[in-house]
Amino acid sequence: MKKNIMKVNLSKDAKYNLITIAAIIVVYAMCQIMIAAGMMSYLMKGLLVPFCYYSILAVSLNLTVGILGELSLGQAGFMCIGAFASAFFSKCTINLIPNTFIRFTLAIFVGALAAAIFGMFIGVAVLRLRGDYLAIVTLAFGEIIKNVLNTIFVGYDSKGFHFSLKDAASLKLQGDGTLIINGPQGITSTPQDTNFTVSTLLLIATFIIVANLINSRSGRAIMAIRDNRIAAEAMGIDVTKFRILAFTITAALAGVAGVLYAHNISSLNATPKNFGYNMSIMILVFVVLGGIGNIRGSIIASVILTLLPEYLRFLQDYRMLIYAIVLIIMMILNWNPTCIAWRKKYSLGSIFRKKTQGEV
């Protein structure tokens, strides 16, 4: 009896995760087949990598919002750090490490690490803050990062690195020098190492990291803090440690999304459009629509809501208006009890279960 319950418990989570990973791989394979058959439009091809990095951002933000239960609006800031740190690294080492695979792998770690350090820093800074106050501080952090990066000038020549907050001329680079970060113009001609395959692999990795974390000792501790902080402390759970841990992992994964973003475009600059608070809010919308605490939902919502504005392009000026209305309708329907029952009835898992039962 006891063993039986344990088995069901373990395999239920494992099954859920496996189905999600399998679904990602199936979608990936379908996209590759469509590309090979020439059935995919240029527009869609350009969206494949964004699907992945938006999903990574949403899944990682869900760790802070859904699992830790804190509202963070700084996701774009962490992404920005990951993007700039990795692009900087790739630009510096492009001649040093000719192998794309090694360089890009290192770039991913550099981006994740840089963002993680800032995540930890923010986690410590907001230790005593909760709710709205925390949201405002993270929002401010994202804006500060974006604005500071717009004023940084970094160059490299035979004498080493040069740094300025004024302009490119004050770097006084030698003739052989290269300008790496050019203030508001950002980093140009970053090697475009990102592709759909790497992005999908990183999305799967992100999913596994977050899903496994939730179903572990640390994940339980984080959820205990969310549900009742006072009781968690009374159970001997180190609230400070696990809060910082959740912030750090969220930031590191957002950094990875930033790496994908930076190596997918030719010129990287921090503008309100890509790293502004609108971006953070958009990621939060993905999380809320996909279901707070539901990581599979985050991925689905990211894909749908990235696709939607593109398909609404024919509406021209009314596009964002209709987008907002569609969002409201989706929010209402998503958590409608009838809708939830319908989803449960026709979910991948239940179809799979019925089939196997039929065979037995």
């Binding site: 006891k2 319950i5 344990m6 069901v8 418990n9 596994i208 990291i209 496994n212 974390l213 179903n215 572990s216 000792r217 640390s218 994940g219 339980r220 501790a221 959820m223 205990a224 969310r226 549900d227 009742n228 006072i230 009781a231 968690a232 402390e233 009374a234 159970m235 001997g236 759970i237 180190d238 609230v239 841990l245 605490g293």
Partner: protein, 252 residues
Amino acid sequence: MEMLSVKNLSISFGGLRAVDSFNITIQKGELYGLIGPNGAGKTTVFNLLTGVYKPDSGIIILDGENISGKSPIEINKAGIARTFQNIRLFKNLTVLDNVKTGLHNQYKYTTLAGILRLPSYYRTEKLMTEKAYDILKVFDLDKEAATLSANLPYGKQRKLEIARALATNPKLLLLDEPAAGMNPAETEELMKTITLIREKFGVTILLIEHDMKLVAGICEKIFVLNFGMELANGLPQDVLNNPEVIKAYLGE
């Protein structure tokens, strides 16, 4: 052998002296009752003992270790676990996970081992699940292990809170009104459970309660608190027949 020894414990909130020179000595294995009219400072005493409030003065010694002024986390590790007057379960976790959260400091593996699913993860999780089921069985909750704790009926939520507290392997268990909101049948059952866990886990218990039937029925000693000060302290029959105590409860 003394399990808990508290000397001159005091705390003030503004001008209000909530707890004034509180002294208590609890022997190992004893079941002590803490009673008093509403607002007497009973829960404040619990909050002082568990580190939620820092005392203005006084010493708390648990099993020979001075724990005064330590944080709730350190105090839990030192061996005091508690339940709350208003139930504080982890509502969105299952019954099993609630108890496993209590086992947090007993069974350890690193976060990385959890993410990478290293052998230590499977090994430790299996031990944790077994231990959690052992505890749940004592409270007759093992069949509800997969239920969300928020969906449990009230009486079972109270029991689960005690189970979770016991999972931290405490030397001293503090129960804050365990029978609050329970009907007589549930209270009866709770009394049996408390007696059972004392035998099974060998834990010392200090409980706050208003239900005099429960207090007189199972407590070996009773401490009466009134306006933050000691009113009576001793054996149940002496304390409950003390005219001062009756006056404090019923008025003149």
